[in-house]
Amino acid sequence: MIARDRNWLLIFVVCVALAILYPFIADGYQLTVIRDALIFGLFAASLDFFWGRTGILCFGHAAFFGIGGYIMALVTLNDAIPFASLLGLAGAVAGAAFVAAIIGYFLFFGGIRGSYFTIVTLAMGVICQQAAVSWSSVTGGDSGLIGIPPIEFDVAGLPVDLSQDLPSYIFVSAIVAVAVLALWSISRGRWGTVLTAIQDNEVRAAALGHNAPLRLLVTFVLSAAIAGLAGALYVCMAGLVAPDLSGLLLSTEVIVWVAVGGRGTLLGPVLGAIFIQRAQQTISSFNPSLWPLLLGCVFVVIVFVLPDGILSIYARLKSLFKGRRRAQ
């Protein structure tokens, strides 16, 4: 367990070092590509925090991403609101958490688990996307909202302006690093151990005095809040928000990122998101219709060959060599 923690921290430090070095070799455009990929990486980590620790799959996680995005857009596009960027971020986080709390309360305390939970959250995602399309007076309908300003605020009187490539890259990287580290320290300690126990046998955990539905609910709300934060960051960087951001496709993609990166590792899903989006861009420039086909194939191969994700390659090789040595 301790060795596992050390390995995780080592990989984390390497990733942070790479993120720090990247601006020295990359141009502005490449920075924005990685920046956007990192935001989706944060989104993937938020799903992994819930799915990886509870074993319950949320198939509508993009709903929280979209809710965060729309709240951020509506707050920052309204000229009457002061400190719009900060208020927008706070509102996005709170809004996503609030919706998760309402839905989660009825599901968890109503004893909905497993595939039933997955199906209900799938419907939730579809409802959110439909609401974004239909409520056009507020959400702009199918075409969404455009012209969302970049994040800007003051730190001790010094203005922080994220309209440039490098500052926005640094800002996003820092948030992703802090959030992933925070989620990891929550999920490895007492909170995570009890969640694993609940995943193993919820009735038993309850018989020991643990309020399992409440713990699942809080985990779900926290996960949704981070997803909302990612959504808010994304719309500010992209400058627009559209119903797709809460759609079924994004909900599916985020599951693939987590599965490819390795469920329960938090860092793996971030890498999975970056890796798959890079692959998507490369392959789509080659032939746009090739990508969905390849994505499906990659997913199937990963599930069969590396069910614990790409981060498990090292552990797999190690156990393979150990097995060889023992056999000799």
């Binding site: 007492r190 151990t193 009890v194 955990a205 309850a206 018989a207 020991l208």
Partner: protein, 234 residues
């Protein structure tokens, strides 16, 4: 009667057309050890489910320290001081033995025994880092007892604690319980007569959902009617 911990009065439960339990009474005093025995299908586990509040009786009541516990959520019942060991070992297989005990302690309102002492009590000190899913069957049962102890119960309910154990493990379990006897009340549901004989305590015999006999075990053991039921003559 201020030392009465658990009192079941006139408990009856009906599943559709089946009267699973009928007019059962049970009084467990503080720090008392008692056994519920009976052939398969006698209603032992059902009665235990009623005693832990997981099943609401269709008639009668179950009071723990004067409070009706029927239908309370599981974690509330645990926090009242009722610990339960399930029939099928239900430890957390993906956690280590030590983490299993830690999860149990964290659920308790005021845990007293440190994890090291719990490991000692259930003879698992040298397996602390093993994943619970990899333990032998008997050791899983002991780990479960250890987890039940971790919540510092007033009352420990054991559902067939020796199911699937070897005779040596069964006797070791009985010794473990006898050592713990003076600390809290224990109710064990069992059909292994050797185990109940080793405990030699107040015993309630169930048959077809009703009380057949109750009293000290040596009286029960010599009872003609109990022998008939166990040998299947009735």
């Amino acid at each position: 009667m201020s030392d009465v911990l658990l009192q079941a009065e006139n408990v009856g439960i009906r599943f559709g057309g089946l009267q699973a339990l009928e007019a059962l009474d049970l009084t467990v005093r503080d720090k008392e050890l008692c056994c519920i025995i009976g052939p398969n299908g006698a209603g032992k586990s059902t009665f235990l489910n009623v005693l832990t509040g997981t099943l609401r009786p269709t008639s009668g009541s179950v009071r723990f320290r004067g409070r009706d516990i029927a239908g309370l959520p599981l974690h509330r019942i645990a926090r009242l001081g009722i610990a339960r060991k399930f029939q099928i070992p239900s430890v957390f297989p993906s956690l280590s033995v030590e983490d299993n005990l830690k999860v149990a302690r964290w659920g308790a309102p005021s845990p007293v025994r440190p994890v090291a002492e719990l490991l000692e009590l259930v003879a698992l000190t040298n397996r602390a880092a093993t994943l619970a899913g990899e333990l032998a069957h008997g050791q899983k049962q002991w780990l479960e007892i250890g987890m039940a102890l971790a919540i510092e119960p007033r009352l420990l309910l054991l559902d067939e604690p020796t199911a699937g154990m070897t005779p040596q493990e069964t006797l070791a379990t009985a010794e473990m319980l006898l050592r713990l006897k003076g600390e809290f009340s224990i109710v064990a549901v069992e059909h292994d007569i050797r185990f109940v004989r080793a405990l030699n305590c107040e015993t309630l015999v169930l048959h077809q959902g009703r009380r057949l006999r109750s009293g000290p075990f040596h009286d029960i053991e010599t009872d003609e009617m109990v022998r008939d039921v166990y040998l299947g003559r009735r």
